[in-house]
Amino acid sequence: MSVPISYYLVLSGILFGLGVVAFVFKRNVITVFMSIELMLNAVNLAFVAFARAHQQLDGLVFVFFVIVVAAAEAAVGLAIVMMMAQNGQSLNVERAHSLGEGGPTYLPGGSAAESREALKS
């Protein structure tokens, strides 16, 4: 007997949820990128399952495009990570702050708002 399509969709949903949780929980910027890849993989599984359910090939073609976009995103994102490391920035997403308004980095310890106040004064 074949596996019902809804099983694949539930698995895809669970994996996507875990990807979102990892994206929010992880602190290392490389791991954050990896959780994005996990989410993309979960969506790919849903695409393939739907392509099978509807007996159409468009879903598979979309998976192909998603993989291409993921490859491009990983190349550019990891280049940015390399540049952050070369400039001596922390890879912790809560410390690395040079793109934001509050200055180069958060001060260690204390809440984010306190650090921002400390940097202003």
Binding site: S6, L15, G17
Partner: protein
């Protein structure tokens, strides 16, 4: 019967590896568990009859993209992840809300598919999707999109080059 066993084995492997990705302190452990997820998903694609996608998943995802990740982790010598808790709200509300999101997405996905007749495997394709059909679809109906992705890749290469160049 055998497809069900394979499905549940792969699903368990994928979910367990995804949980390991969250819990692991070292980035390299997270990367290896992500490769586990991708291999499990490739087997699931085979089960769904998408041979080409399964091969692409192994070659491009587990092969190229994850090698890039592992390469960067090794190059930067990224050690144990630092745990900073700047936000008290995230610390206490994060885990319950994360579980809620997980349950809700899974429930919604199930609910969206259970009502339709396609969900019960009635219309499932018995054979595998041939790569020939897939390529004719890709190079006829989606030809413009295919060419557009080549432009995207070119821009990504240029972007990576510009970023990797030393500041002078």
């Amino acid at each position: 019967m055998i497809p069900l066993i394979v499905f549940f084995a792969c699903a368990l492997l994928a979910v367990a590896s995804a949980v390991t990705l969250i819990l692991a302190r070292e980035p390299i452990h997270s990367a290896l568990s992500l490769i586990n997820v991708m291999v499990a998903l490739a087997i699931l694609y085979l089960l769904l009859g998408a041979e080409f996608i399964s091969a692409v998943q192994i070659i491009v995802y587990a092969g190229a993209i994850m090698v890039l990740f592992v390469f960067v982790i090794m190059l930067l010598n990224a050690g144990v992840e630092e745990r900073t808790d700047y936000s008290k709200l995230a610390k206490y509300a994060g885990l319950p809300l994360g579980f809620f999101l997980l349950i809700e997405i899974a429930r919604w996905m199930y609910g969206s598919s259970a009502g339709s007749t396609i969900a019960n495997g009635a219309g499932a394709i018995t054979g595998a999707v041939s790569t020939r059909d897939l390529s004719s679809e890709l190079f006829r109906q989606y030809l413009f999109n295919f060419e557009a992705t080549s432009l995207l890749i070119l821009i990504a290469i240029l972007g990576a080059l510009v970023l990797a160049r030393k500041n002078q």
